[in-house]
Each structure stands twice: as C-alpha cells, then as structure tokens.
Symmetry: C2
DNA sequence: TTATAAAACTTTAAGCTTGAAATAATTCCG
DNA sequence: CGGAATTATTTCAAGCTTAAAGTTTTATAA
C-alpha cells in the first residue's frame, strides 16, 4: 500500500495521491506514537478513545466510540478495559438499558488527557510546520470534499 | 487521533488538517482491506510487501523491505514468513553475506500480485472518484512538499 | 590475530485490529 | 403473552505491530 504505481497511464494520478496520503499519514502517525510512548507512556488508540470521551463529558456508549473512531466493537472493548484498569475511564451500567454502559473519563483521566492533548497539538504543529495555516485550510477542504462522496454509503 | 481540536485558536488549522488526513486514509484503508480480504483472501500488509517486491525483480533484503514500507524489522519477518508458507515468496540465502537473504516473488506470487494490483488500482480510482486527475496531482504535490521538511531528519 | 563493535535478522511480550461467533437484554408482533 | 428478530456488547482466533532483547555473521582495529 506504500509502493507506487507499477506503470504510467490514466487513473494513475489518483493512485499516486493515495500512496502519498498513506505514506504521509503513516509517517506522522509513527512519530506521534513514538512520542506518546516516550513522553506519556501511552498509545495512540488510548489517546483516541480519551479524545473522544473528552469531547463528551456526558459519556459515550461503546458503539458510539467504535463508530466515531472507525474501529470495530471488539477493538474498543480491549482499549477501554485497559483504560479502566489504569483508572482513567469508568464504565457505568445504565438503568434504562442494561445491555449498554456509559463510558466516561475519570477526573484523573480528564486531567491526564488535557496535558497529553496540549503536547500532541504542538507536535502536530511542528510536524506540519511547513504547511502554512492557509494551505492547511485549503487542504482540509479538499480532503473533506473527496471524503463525502462515498463514505458511509452502505 | 481521530477526534477534532477541543477549542479554537492559532495552530488549530494544522491539527484539523492532520485529523482530516488521518480520517481519510483510515477510511480508505479500511475499505481496501475489506475488499482484499473478500475478493482475494489476502491482507494489506501482504499486499504491501508483494508490491514492493514486484518493483524489484532482483529481490530485496529484509531491511530494504522494512525501510521502504516504514515498518519494523520484526514485522516484516512475520509477514514474509506467511508469504513463504503460501508459496508466493522465497527467501534465498546469499553466499556473499550469510546474515542476509534475498526475498523475491515466486512466479505464482508475481501472477497473483498482478491480478490483485489491477483490482486495487480500480478500487482506488473509484474511492477517490470525485477528485479530478488535476486536483489529484496538485494534492500529491502538496503532500510531497510537506513531507520533505521533517521526514528522516534523524 | 582476536576482542569488540556493528549489521542483519529473528524472537518475544504486549498491545492493537478485525470479523465472526457467543451472550444478554430489548423490541417487535402475531 | 411469548417466540423471533434486533441491538449492544464481549469473546475469540488469527494476524499485524512495535520496541527491546537475542543470535549469527561480518567488519574494525589494537
């Protein structure tokens, strides 16, 4: 998925774009993962879950989390398990529907996330340093538009 | 890593860009992974390795592969192990340096990859369908330039 | 030489990831 | 009501991924 087109021809430009996109995100992701590990002894998936929960103080269901994060249900189960065991997150059984449980950041989790998120934003600013703010906005717009076409079509 | 900035302010545009980038590549990647599984009973990492080898008929060292694919050494070991056991790839011990082995596609592997790659290219063309070829080239250029700044700096 | 370092690779432990199967609770309807 | 389908979640097996530690081979240099 990281190798280039094997020949020239029509349609190759989209393939090239995809390969660039993937290489860029993988490289940045690897750098962020490494820093999260070194500086905060945490992982990208844990950070993702905490980021989602930070935006929803009222809590999220497991299915909300997996839908929002674009990962499978079983995946979220394991990550939340570990966050719970670390005291960063709670699972609260609900009276209304006993199949579900509300997942929330603990106070400690919230404080912890705020600190990590600040560093994370600086890192991204650094890693994308030579994209001007203006260029960043334009790129964001282009990415937004090409996503909307086919995403979530089923 | 998929959640948005938690507030407005300077530097947020780069963070937004990063989140878009990540969501886009994850969504496309998930779709491609699923199709590779359904249509060809293979995986993205296997496809990546085969794509790299297809470009190098003379073969690649394990370390070449991991460097090119942006993954760890140990990772490539496992994937190549499985490809070898499937008869798609060979590991040839070299006389010159007995620490290394040349990894190559078998004839079967080469044929198999060509078929998968054709489908893969069509899928990417479809998934990025509403990016014009011209826009694709411009985006590719922007991604290329912002990568070169910091990648491989150490 | 011959120790020592460096290089190429594999192994290992822990965690992430998926899709499919299993559980449990709720909703739908006949 | 009561069986059937649906929904929310967990469990499971297989594979991917990394960092760190270990093995084997080659290069360096005292």
């Amino acid at each position: 998925m990281v190798a280039g087109p094997t020949s020239a021809g029509p349609g190759k430009d989209r393939l090239r774009l995809w390969i660039r996109l993937l290489r860029a995100s993988r490289t940045i992701e690897a750098e962020l993962r490494e820093r999260l590990k070194k500086e905060f002894d945490t992982t990208l998936p844990r950070f993702d879950v905490m980021a989602a929960l930070y935006r929803s103080p009222e809590g999220m269901l497991m299915s909300d989390l997996s839908r929002f994060l674009l990962v499978s249900n079983g995946n979220v189960t394991g990550i939340v398990d570990r966050l719970v065991s670390e005291g960063l997150v709670t699972r609260a059984r609900r009276n209304g529907d006993r199949r579900t449980s509300m997942v929330r950041l603990t106070e400690e989790g919230s404080k912890s996330f705020a600190a990590i998120a600040a560093a994370h934003e600086n890192w991204v600013g650094e890693l994308l340093g030579n994209v001007s703010e203006d260029e960043a906005r334009r790129l964001t717009g282009m990415l937004k538009s090409f996503r909307s076409n086919w995403e979530g079509r089923e």
